[in-house]
Subunit: 340 residues, 4 copies
């Protein structure tokens, strides 16, 4: 299969190159950006010399449809809603890594403050958290957000099991700086981040409605979550620390059974005895999940960790690609975490 | 006033030297450790050459009482409970930075797994969170723990005001590595910490009973808290992120009034419009506190930040010293945060 | 003495505030910037609440001369050359932390690519590396660059002693990111710096002519140096690693005698047995110097470390202020290094 | 081919697992350590769950020879000299990643202060810097050290071309902390490394004789080098900054030609226009090399960067494995750098 990538110079686009390069069933047919047209990607990013020496091309939906079989959008929000439209109209497969096809129009406008995608597009796209969505044969995939992925994977098994006080969900999520994107800003200036820890977008993060919408599929009494986001002084990684009150006390064995019920056959979610740490997943498509129940407070703490650029973006997009096509879910994704 | 410091080579002991060195009313009469007796402190720690060239002496309670007017214990837990006893018996002033005089014997044994101090000692010591305790004229001060300081300062004003659902308190606290002490361990080995984020001692941290005990003084319906502790890949700093449900909705103005009621005359607590960040307090004795109420979830998020070695240890000890003696509370402590 | 600071929102300006705040002989009369006129400095930088609540004023040379006795320029290059002119004409004291009065006009133009200061100004200013310049009674001080300070202090004693092969000087200097200033850029974007190490401006750094000019005062056969600059993923600190061939072998004792000859009475230079490390000086005005001679290669390695914002900028400026006025050189500068 | 790894719990051993896991021609037959016998590797290192679940076995040379075709030693120095002896005697293939077979006995004793390997072993082993050694058909490979790899690759092309003043070589090399190994020590304690930069083992690093020995093969007038080693506050990566005086001035084109002559056909050395940075090689087997000639000082600066655990250890070991067996040199090693 030939694929094109739009938004190649963002962090997710670059990560897609890395993953697809080792994917046996896929060839990258073209890469697209709004700048640096005509230059080799490896001239701009010398780490890619000898890895990917493709030339950046202008975006042209027709040409992409002529030379490819599927297109990835790894663009900032507000772009795919426009640029993906010709593909939608032509029924040409799209995987959108951005937030543009995750929410109904009114919620998108409210949280993203941008013009939403067309109703036609929104109807065609399927939001696919890979472990819980059947996308075989689908053509239009909306890939989940990074915080959303970590948080939904932590909560869904509990909600499926019906054990959570729905009103009690509090999420204290932390992300490395690649999650904040490539644009220069005071908040991503080295000296302002290093040796610091900053909470931002409290109650205002655009992944909140996406998470609530997905959680509701598994427990329709979930109407809101308390969601806090902070910046860790690292490049990669998300830890989502989830606190919930339980409807009734559960043993460790009960809880393992609940998680195993959801994840026993999933290759990328690893349920653990101990609370997980970032090192164990960075560089890989794994999600590690651990939990601890406190009988005194009746609070269950669940911790899930992912690499925000892989399981939280490009890796899950490739996983969805595999699932759409009925390929082995792990193709191109069997990468060991870096560890150090 | 002449003072002695026991446990000089720990991080808190070294920080005391730095602060007392600039204190107009105090001279350091002697410094003590169990190792390196007879060596200059500045031979062991060359950053102190020209700053403090005192020689480390063996611990000897009688000699300390002969040459000093007060002794600081900056020792690991389990030490001051024994070594402070002669001072207690002689009614000689002590400020204990360790956890040895913070809890009743049965709680100390349960959480520290060590032999508690004598009943005589425990009766004499006053736990002093400096902003809320009157220690003028007291001789025995138990200085609060670092996590405890950040968390109590965030919560007490709300509890005093009676606005918190007591059963709902969840604290997600984060600390830099100096909080883990000087002892070498896998969990403080550089490569295991850098680029990582690790949750530890969940529900088991020894500051939990100390916090509950103090909070109860202001709202006796507080019986437990959910308390999570994690290691940030930085040297200094604690952020305590506190989530509580309110008994009824409050406006921002209500909340400011509540915090100002407690802190309008305190020189070291700064209540802020924005959620605070570590950079703004590191290197200083300040505690910065900010908050945000979410009407949708009825959760109030309060964030407080401190330098764990200063406001969380040596700085608050000096603040207590000032208050005991009726001196200006800020003497020796008017240090600007490093910022960068 | 009343002083004004122009360029208050740069890193050096902010550091001046911190130092002058604790200086017994100085009051900050006014602070100036090109933006944020009329706002409290502590509104922009909340770490300063309660430390410095001055309001930022527009630059106006006449008003400054009316309310102050001396003005500091902590401005980017190309600014003081213009704005300091009225003070020069009025014979009103100036300490310029920027590079604008360090070099003769032709060298300034060549290395800074900007219009130089007037000849009148350049004639009046004295370049003052504080340990080697007599500025008592001087009115116009050009404060050395950060890399220049670390490198000159390492080399001058050897050149004074006449032991260095002048043609052999190679400097491998490393700096933290505050040295790169506040402006946003790809090279100071967090993710590009963290976990990275980047060499920049090789042979093109504007401190090169300044260093050669100063070294020549002590050995006029020094005509050039090989000078390499790199970015360490830390906020503060410079290490200058200097390699020179010796004219003839020297013992450790010889070398100590050479350094002691220059530094035995200087309060801020500490000559050490071991090679120094950043931690020992960050947060202070100290320069630590150590060395090691290799008999096999006849190369002497000298390592000097400073805090680039203190000894490399604001601290040395205050030291020069003290020396100009015949005050104790250490006034306002007896700050312990942070260590951790 | 089946292989065994001795020293599995060191950083190089773990990295070998990661690489060999993706190697098409190799199966890991057994893994060995001195501790934790009988436990799954993934129980000790949860990042490996689902990646490598092999059980750690006791070292037993006979059993290894029975079940494997080749053994890697990823052990600390002083171990392979003893444990590899039965394999040497049995003519069973060994790749030793440690320093035990790199130097003649008298130099090993001098620099490592340990008992050297047997003469028989030292005679059989070939030191193989993969780009410059023909190891096809060899059975005993001594894999170069990490600093040595970066430094030799920077210098050999110049020495081959005969353009360097042999007496002038100065190397300022910097390494991340994984280079210091897994043992706990003050110098690898997080708070002592973070925000610090420390020079160590100056003129005493055990890679010095290895480098001189290898350089002499290409220019026998090289008798010594000035070699400085420092710790960067990062986990991975080495930058070797090399300064040499040239026998006569060379243009950039000359220098490119010199490097291309050595590296035009090597898949893992990338000669660059700009000076390289760590980010571009971390996570990969690449060595990036850049240079800049200074006509004023006649100093050529060459910068080479590697991932110390891959090209500096496990990656080069796999590259040597491929070359020994006549396989494609890149098998198992076509991994993109992490970049971020």
């Amino acid at each position: 299969m030939r694929v094109s990538i739009v938004g190649i110079t963002g962090y997710s686009g670059l990560e897609l190159v890395k993953l697809l390069n080792n994917h046996k069933k896929v060839t990258i047919a073209s890469i697209h950006a709004t700048k640096e047209i005509g230059r080799r990607l490896s001239d701009l990013y010398p780490y890619l010399v000898g890895v990917c020496d493709l030339v950046i091309e202008e975006f042209d939906a027709k040409k992409i449809m002529a030379k490819s079989d599927l297109v990835f959008f790894a663009t900032p929000s507000g772009v795919a809603s426009k640029l993906a439209q010709p593909f939608v109209e032509a029924d040409f497969p799209v995987i959108d890594l951005s937030g543009d096809h995750r929410l109904p129009a009114y919620l998108y406008e409210k949280w993203y403050k941008k013009t939403p995608a067309s109703d036609e597009a929104l109807n065609k796209f399927t939001y696919s958290l890979a472990e819980f969505t059947d996308v075989k044969g689908k053509k239009f995939i909306s890939n989940p957000g990074c915080y959303a992925t970590a948080t939904e994977l932590a909560l869904i098994p509990l909600l499926k099991a019906g054990v959570v006080e729905e009103d009690s969900i509090i999420v204290d999520a932390k992300s490395g700086l690649t999650g904040a994107g490539k644009a220069l800003s005071e908040s991503s200036h080295f000296v302002n981040v290093h040796d610091n820890y900053v909470t931002y977008k409290l109650n205002r993060h655009q992944h909140i409605p996406e998470i609530v919408q997905e959680l509701k599929l598994f427990d329709d009494k979930v109407n809101h979550i308390q969601f806090s986001t902070s910046l860790l002084p690292v490049n990669r990684g998300i830890m989502s620390t989830v606190y919930v009150k339980l409807k009734k006390p559960l043993t460790n064995a009960n809880l393992f059974a609940i998680y195993e019920d959801s994840y026993k056959d999933t290759p990328f979610v690893r349920v653990q005895d101990d609370l997980p740490e970032l090192h164990n997943v960075i560089g890989s498509n794994f999600t590690d999940i651990g939990f601890l129940y406190n009988e005194v407070t009746n609070v269950l703490t669940v911790v899930s960790v992912i690499d925000n650029l892989i399981k939280g973006a490009a890796g899950q997009a490739v996983q969805n690609l595999n699932l759409m096509n009925g390929w082995d879910e792990t193709e191109g994704l069997l990468i060991s975490p870096n560890y150090l």
